[in-house]
């Protein structure tokens, strides 16, 4: 029996934005990320689960109960807001205890839970500070402690790390994971950062324009993107897409290739002849961005540094075994890469838990990575 289940949830504003016909199920204790570009409806979806928005169609079940019509307080969940939503006039302790006081939970129980939550989040000694006297990371921890102290089985997190700097983001990320494990929480985590989604979660829901593009384990999303949108969203840099004719294939397919599999060759020895557009030195390797009329987002990695020059022509080989083939019309995956050892041993945690929503995406349509 799944712990959290959404059935055909739709919420739109004047026929646009929001989410359309979203369904998925989540087992107890799972860590699920909702990933997608800005404006794809991922925060709306979270607010629908929280009960801060009402769906126009569909049902939400938590622990087998239909909670669609119930207010947020009766859904037995906690939530961490992007802005933290700390009460500025209350001390850290009062912020954390707000919900317990509202629910009139006994004083000794309050103290016990507060101590535990402060210890888990490393906030001891800051009990009497006001939020304004805390750093961003500490405020984030207070928000986490407030969610932890409620001891609800389901915790919703709305981009909790987006206001932190990169270094802090990594350490709080680990804390979130540890906290979720220690408390046995089922977590729904909204993020636009694929690194967070991939590293934290058991299941990733990739959304685009209000619909689910793909549901699966992080490995699934990385290795078997269901659509060209998924292919161009996941990975840093994401998968390159090459029109079929460019690789002597039919024109009704698009080939996808991970930059890790692309190799540079001398002129005449590869599959495509491309121009070097950009060279990025990354330390242990160098990323080469390439342009070719038939390719989109083509890139390759070279170990160490390189003496290649900008605008130089090089050949690239795109190994047939590493190619994914997408339907040029529908954008859906048609053929998986072959002989990819990792694919065979991939964790099969999330297969078949939800429909893979169809989505039409042409190569010419750039994925909406950022809102203008």
């Amino acid at each position: 029996m799944s712990f959290l289940e959404l059935k055909g949830i739709t919420r739109e504003w004047n026929g646009q934005g929001g989410v359309k016909n979203v369904s998925f199920a989540l087992p107890r204790g799972a860590f699920m990320s909702i990933l997608g570009p800005s404006g794809c409806g991922k925060s709306t979806l979270l607010r629908l689960i929280a009960g801060l928005e009402q769906p126009q169609a569909g049902q939400i079940h938590i622990e087998g109960r239909d909670v669609t019509a119930r207010p947020a307080a009766q859904r037995n969940l906690s939530m961490v807001f992007q802005s933290y939503a700390l009460f500025p006039h209350l001390s850290v302790a009062d912020n954390v205890l707000f919900g317990l006081k509202v629910r009139r939970i006994g004083r000794s129980e309050q103290v016990r839970r507060l101590d535990k939550a402060l210890e888990m989040t490393g906030l001891q000694g800051l009990e009497h500070r006001k939020p304004a006297q805390l750093s961003g990371g500490q405020r984030q921890r207070v928000a986490l402690a407030r969610a932890a102290v409620a001891e609800k089985p389901l915790c919703l997190m709305d981009e909790p790390l987006s206001n932190l700097d990169a270094k802090l983001r990594h350490s709080v990320r680990r804390d979130i994971r540890a906290l979720a494990r220690a408390l046995g929480l089922t977590v729904v985590y909204v993020t636009h950062d694929q690194g967070e989604a991939m590293s934290l979660s058991d299941i990733v829901v990739l959304m685009n324009a209000g619909r689910i593009e793909q549901i699966g384990s992080p490995q699934d999303l990385f290795q078997r993107p269901a659509t060209t949108f998924a292919a161009q969203f996941i990975g840093e840099p994401p998968m390159a897409l090459v029109d079929g004719p460019g690789l002597a294939l039919n024109d009704d397919v698009i080939a996808g290739i991970r930059p890790e599999a692309v190799a540079l060759r001398p002129i005449g020895a590869g599959d495509l002849t491309a121009t070097i557009k950009d060279i990025e030195f990354l330390g242990s390797k160098t990323r080469i961005a390439l342009t070719h009329p038939a390719a989109h987002g083509l890139a390759a990695f070279v170990a160490g540094s390189t003496n290649l020059a900008l605008w130089q022509m090089v050949d690239v080989s795109i190994p047939e075994n590493d190619r994914l083939l997408f339907n040029a019309q529908t954008g859906k995956l048609e053929k998986e890469p072959q002989q990819n050892s990792e694919t065979r041993i991939r964790q099969n945690t999330a297969s078949g838990i939800g429909p893979k929503a169809p989505f039409h995406l042409n190569l010419s349509t750039k994925p909406a990575q950022k809102e203008p």
Partner: protein, 297 residues
């Protein structure tokens, strides 16, 4: 003299005084000097052509304390403040909460509430004079429809002060509402959502989150309302002229009467000095005591 350090210090000092001078000059001319002059005047006797004024110390204050009208006026003013301040603040808050909610015709509601505040005092008082007019005033006409006897609201000692209070509340509540409305809009909506998820009812959210966050505004309004309550004079000119038999007379009106109707400037000055002292003490109390318990963002 030529030491560069000394020169720099002097330059900074001159700079500082120059920056300070506009405010200092204005305040001195229009606030400090008049207050001081008032106090000095209050220590001298009333001069006539035959008897020039002479220094009498605190004699004027002594006469004032023996004057039953002064005590009546002070009591009236206290009642007036005790009624109008809490009611207008509560009303303002209630109206702001309502006008801040998602209601139809929200800007119309806001404008309607604010209209009394933009009417000139005299116009507002005249308007209410029509309402209060005996027999054919609106209040009595409505009362008449319901079978009540006509009441001369402004003409009898038992109702005159309350009638004046009602006008003030009507006028001030809309004005204070704007401050509350502005403060309410600075409260991020996700605080409400966070409280909602924690299971807080609307009332709990109001009491434990909204009201504390509105405290700085409340303090500001409180001080303003207090100052306004001793500043009220124009309503009285139109509505009651302090009557009947001083029942609606407030302190500023009494000061005006003493100074410009009875030409007893020293008594008026003594009352003014007392009023300033009381107001100063109140403001100091509010800022020192309530400030500590107020959360400023």
């Amino acid at each position: 003299m030529t030491d560069p350090f000394t020169l720099e210090r002097r330059r900074r000092a001159i700079h500082g005084w120059l920056l300070l001078s506009p405010a200092l000059v204005m305040l001195s001319v229009f606030a400090f000097y008049p207050s001081f002059a008032t106090f000095v005047t209050s220590l001298w006797s009333r001069g006539t052509r035959r008897r020039p004024s002479e220094f009498v110390g605190f004699e004027n204050y002594q006469y004032l304390f023996e004057d039953p009208t002064f005590w009546l006026v002070a009591w009236n003013n206290l009642l007036y403040a005790a009624v109008t301040i809490p009611i207008s603040i509560t009303l303002a808050l209630a109206m702001a909460l309502w006008a801040n909610a998602k209601i139809p015709a929200r800007s119309f509601v806001r404008t309607a509430y604010f209209t009394p505040a933009i009417l000139p005092m005299i116009a507002a008082a005249n308007l209410w004079l029509f309402f209060y007019t005996p027999s054919f005033g609106i209040l009595n006409q409505i009362g008449g429809l319901l079978g009540a006897d006509p009441v001369n609201w402004l003409g009898q000692p038992s109702t005159a002060l309350w009638a004046v209070c009602a006008v003030t509340i009507w006028k001030e509540a809309g004005f204070f509402m704007i401050f509350y409305l502005a403060a309410l809009q600075t409260i991020p909506p996700d605080l409400k959502e966070a409280a909602e998820i924690e299971g807080a009812s609307r009332w709990t959210y109001l009491r434990r989150v909204v009201l504390p966050l509105l405290m700085p505004t409340t303090l500001f309004i409180l001080i303003n309302a207090m100052i306004n309550s001793v500043k009220l004079i124009d309503h009285l000119f139109i509505l009651t002229k302090g009557g009947p038999s001083d029942s609606s007379k407030l302190i500023l009106y009494y000061i005006w009467e003493n100074a410009f109707a009875y030409f007893d400037r020293p008594t008026a000055a003594a009352m003014t000095a007392l009023m300033l002292a009381v107001l100063g003490a109140l403001a100091a109390f509010q800022f020192l005591m309530l400030d500590k318990r107020t959360h400023y963002r």
